[in-house]
Subunit: 150 residues, 2 copies
């Protein structure tokens, strides 16, 4: 199969608010007041959890279908914990991002427990967002300047 490329274009609307364009969609990102924002939209780390939930839903259905059972519904609760000390430049003792992420899946289906164990193993293994969170992903950052300061 050929590689798929995904891209977004984002623009700072204020120090904590970002307007993101993904294809024909606009995604607004903000921070709650306590984290310096105007609280008009979910914040970046909440979007990470939302992306993970969306991916688990797609993979959950795809793999249930492959395994031959019907998933009538799927609820997904996700929680993550981070310490903001590194983000705020107060301490380097802990990592900047989520220290862990925990997921509770509530599938409505008739599959038995061993089938669901196989299912969840395949879901986690093949879910792109799960892979990008659980394993290292190379990131290259480049600065492009339209004008150079004198």
């Amino acid at each position: 199969m050929s590689d798929l490329t995904f891209n977004i274009k984002a623009n700072s609307q204020s120090p904590a608010k970002t307007s993101v364009k993904a294809r024909n969609f606009e995604i607004l990102v903000d921070e709650p007041a306590g984290l310096g924002g105007t609280d008009l939209a979910p914040n970046p780390v909440e979007y990470v959890l939302a992306a993970f939930a969306g991916c688990l839903n797609v993979m959950g259905h795809l793999i249930a279908q492959e395994m031959g059972f019907e998933l009538r519904n799927l609820e997904i609760d996700i929680k993550g914990e981070l310490n903001p000390a590194k983000l705020f430049g107060k301490s380097d003792e802990q990592r900047a991002g989520y220290k862990y992420i925990s997921v509770i899946l509530k599938p409505d289906c008739d599959a038995d427990q061993p089938t669901l164990q196989k299912w969840i193993h395949a879901v986690e293994e093949r879910c792109p967002v799960s892979d990008n969170l659980q394993n290292r992903t190379p990131v290259k950052v480049e600065i492009v300047r339209e004008e150079i300061a004198n």
Copy 2:
């Protein structure tokens, strides 16, 4: 500083569409038709890039302020490439998620190049989403069943 907990609750609206609740916000996740969805919203891997952009914006402004220069505007373009073979269960040769993510930052400011290099280094280092993408994050998945099949 105390740990911060973030959480979302998601519900499958169809095999590819997910409604996610983060605090008082609703985030809709879907897939384009070519990936089995109804194309009503960005897809999970696009939300990952949007989360990253939002986080880079927040950190970019915070660190510019610490370093004493004004960031008048910041544009952020992010691209990622993945091969869908593993996702679709066709092959295990490549990883499921993004193989790489590349970011172009276009800061509008008067800082000189060495200052911007320091800035971007600190931004990447202290950005929670950057950390969760570039480093491993433990994920625990649990299945909870309301009713057990007979």
